[in-house]
């Protein structure tokens, strides 16, 4: 037996249903794509904003350095005044090392608080910039050497930091929303993607239930139509196979029946003739019993093969149902065994006479052979039809076998082919009725045939 190839799955994953897997895959995609996008956007945007900010800071620092340089060339310069006069945003601070001493704007940071490595680099005469965390938050330090002095400007990055946070929050929110939408979409899409499988499942169930004529309609989708074609051709082959088997059984039974007919008729001719010698009587009776039993088997096989033989349709006619059941049951039992409730004595129903007679005959025969004899056949009202009870005196049918005995070849009893009750089930269900077996009050089995009649 081959299963669907699923190389992407391992054992445990396999236990998860296909629909769940499709949903999960779509949901995972829906989570990952916005996440990657968000991270990319965040990186690009923040890189750009920080770069801008650094370039602006550097430009301002460089222009200030030029101003400071020319101001300090004047005689007797006041370094704090020069610094205060420089154009700057109020929240930036400037530090200047002039002749070994640190000067700063009013909000200047203590140079001691700056990273010593940064100070070393700048004081040694190299321009440098660094982002550091100071007491008030992140800052950008820009250090420029200018004619023996060291110029350091501190740009607070709190604002930038807030922009980052807002951006992150926005991206996170969007990613979450997109992921949630993706999961939802995954569920819907998973369901929709697998929706075309529903008719396939239903059709398979229908075939399994024995409706071999079930076929799938083309869905108009190339992929799905391929599935439908494969399904239909399998069903076709199965149906052909079953029909061939039934035809074969029919042909064989038909041949056997002719032979049997000759044998039975010859037997009856001898039987109705002068008495046989004593010692021949017992084997002759045995021969007759076995011939009749064999004939029942062949008839049952033929009955089964009929379904595939164009004989599946009902031939309905009006009958007095109680009389029909009584006639069939009493004839089979060879004695009066039927009680028809006075309430349905004249009830007429449209039934296929042959099939109902066959069903009753088989049930009574079953009671006679396997149920130690029929006790009573009762016909009671039910809906617009009747219920037929066939009670026997046997050991009853154990609960675990009560369904199975109505299937073909389900006999455990020697001498039975196991077709009789399956034929009953088929004929009764063709009338829209049901048959089951339970316990007879007082012991034995009770077979019940329910024929609801028209309009039910």
């Amino acid at each position: 037996m081959t299963g669907f190839p699923r190389p992407w799955t391992d054992g445990r994953w396999r236990r998860v249903s296909l629909r769940t897997r499709v949903e999960l895959a779509l949901a995972a995609t829906a989570v990952l794509v916005p996440l990657v996008l968000s991270v990319t956007v965040w990186t690009v945007v923040t890189g750009y904003v920080v770069g801008q900010r650094e370039r602006a800071a550097l430009a301002q620092a460089e222009s200030n350095v030029t101003v400071v340089g020319s101001a300090l060339e004047r005689p007797e310069p006041s370094v704090p005044d020069v610094l205060e006069g420089l154009p700057r945003a109020t929240d930036t601070a400037i530090l200047l090392r002039h002749r070994g001493e640190w000067y700063g704007t009013s909000l200047a940071t203590d140079p001691e608080a700056l990273p010593s490595a940064f100070l070393d680099v700048v004081t040694s005469g190299t321009a440098a910039s660094q982002r550091v965390e100071l007491g008030d938050g992140p800052v950008l330090l820009v250090g420029l050497p200018v004619g023996g002095m060291t110029y350091i400007q501190v740009f607070p990055l709190v604002e930038l930091d807030e922009t980052h946070r807002t951006l992150s929050a926005a991206l996170l929110g969007l990613s979450t929303a997109a992921a949630a939408a993706g999961v939802l979409l995954g569920r819907v899409a998973g369901r929709r993607a697998l929706a075309p499988l529903t008719p396939v499942i239903e059709a398979t169930r229908s075939i399994a239930a024995g409706n071999l004529t079930t076929r799938l309609d083309a869905a108009g989708d190339p992929d799905l139509d391929e599935v439908a074609r494969a399904f239909n051709s399998t069903a076709e082959r199965l149906q052909q196979r079953v029909a061939e088997d039934e035809r074969f059984a029919g042909d064989v039974s038909h041949e056997m029946r002719t032979t049997l007919m000759a044998m039975l008729n010859a037997f009856e001719l001898v039987e109705s003739g002068p008495a046989l010698p004593r010692r021949s009587q017992e084997p002759f009776a045995l021969l007759g019993r076995e011939l009749r039993r064999f004939s029942v088997m062949v008839e049952e096989l033929l009955e089964i093969s009929r379904a595939g033989d164009g004989d599946g349709e009902l031939v309905l006619e009006q009958v007095v149902i109680g009389e029909l059941v009584a006639a069939a049951a009493d004839r089979t039992a060879g004695r009066p065994v039927t009680h028809v409730s006075p309430r349905v004595e004249r009830r007429r129903m449209r039934v296929d006479k042959r099939r109902i007679v066959r069903a009753v005959t088989n049930l009574v025969h079953n009671a006679e052979i396997h149920g130690s004899g029929v006790v009573q056949v009762a016909v009671e009202p039910y809906a617009q039809g009747v219920r037929i009870f066939v009670d026997d005196a046997g050991p009853g049918v154990p609960p675990d076998r009560r369904e199975r005995i109505f299937q073909r070849f389900a006999t455990d009893t020697p001498g039975g082919v196991g077709l009789g009750l399956s034929i009953v089930a088929r004929h009764v269900s063709q009338h829209g009725g049901a048959v089951w077996v339970g316990d007879r009050p007082g012991g034995g089995a009770r077979f019940v045939v329910e024929l609801p009649g028209e309009g039910s």
Binding site: T258, M261, L264, E268, D311, V315, Q318, V319, K353
Partner: protein, 229 residues
Amino acid sequence: MGAMNRRVLLIDDDPRIRQVLGLALRGEGYTVDVAETAAAGLATLEDNPPDVVLLDVMLPDEDGFSVCRRIRSRSHVPVIMVTARTDSHDVVAGLESGADDYVSKPLMAKELSARIRALLRRAGPRQDETETFTVGELTIRLREAEVLRDGIPLSLTHTEFKLLAELAREQGGVCSRETLLQRVWGYDYFGDSRIVDVHVSRLRAKVERDPSHPRHVVTVRGHGYRLVP
């Protein structure tokens, strides 16, 4: 009516069936002619006119339905069609081709001779029964087994006449299909009521002026048939 001097023509290609039914029917006192083909059967029909014909549906040279139509075109002899199974098509086709009754295989001689006896039973008047019924323009004479319409005899088969006689006996009352099966064909509960329906339509074709709007042989839905003047 005894089987003595009654002639049965058995047309069947299976030698086993011819032999065993021949044995059984001869055992009951019938004279049995056998034929294994349609052609031989039709020839025997001419040479030794039988009282009843047993005709198999499957014959090597011609199918039983058309043989039955040919028999009908030249004789009113009762025909019992032998079908391999109770296939609806076979049964209806057999009856429509003019058969009086049908039996399904396996054929048991006892059942078969019961069917033959029923078909050969005459529809004469019973004790203290009126011999003639008049229904509109129809006159049914039981003793002579004849039906006249406006004084002119109609050509009915034995079975058609029995059916009309049974309906006439009810004097306008409804006759169910079961009752007709029992009285005309001798069936108990297991007869096929399509036999009745097919014969009723054949009867209408002969006795009604407009068979598609029957005035005398009237259907009573869900119950059966009745004869009205």
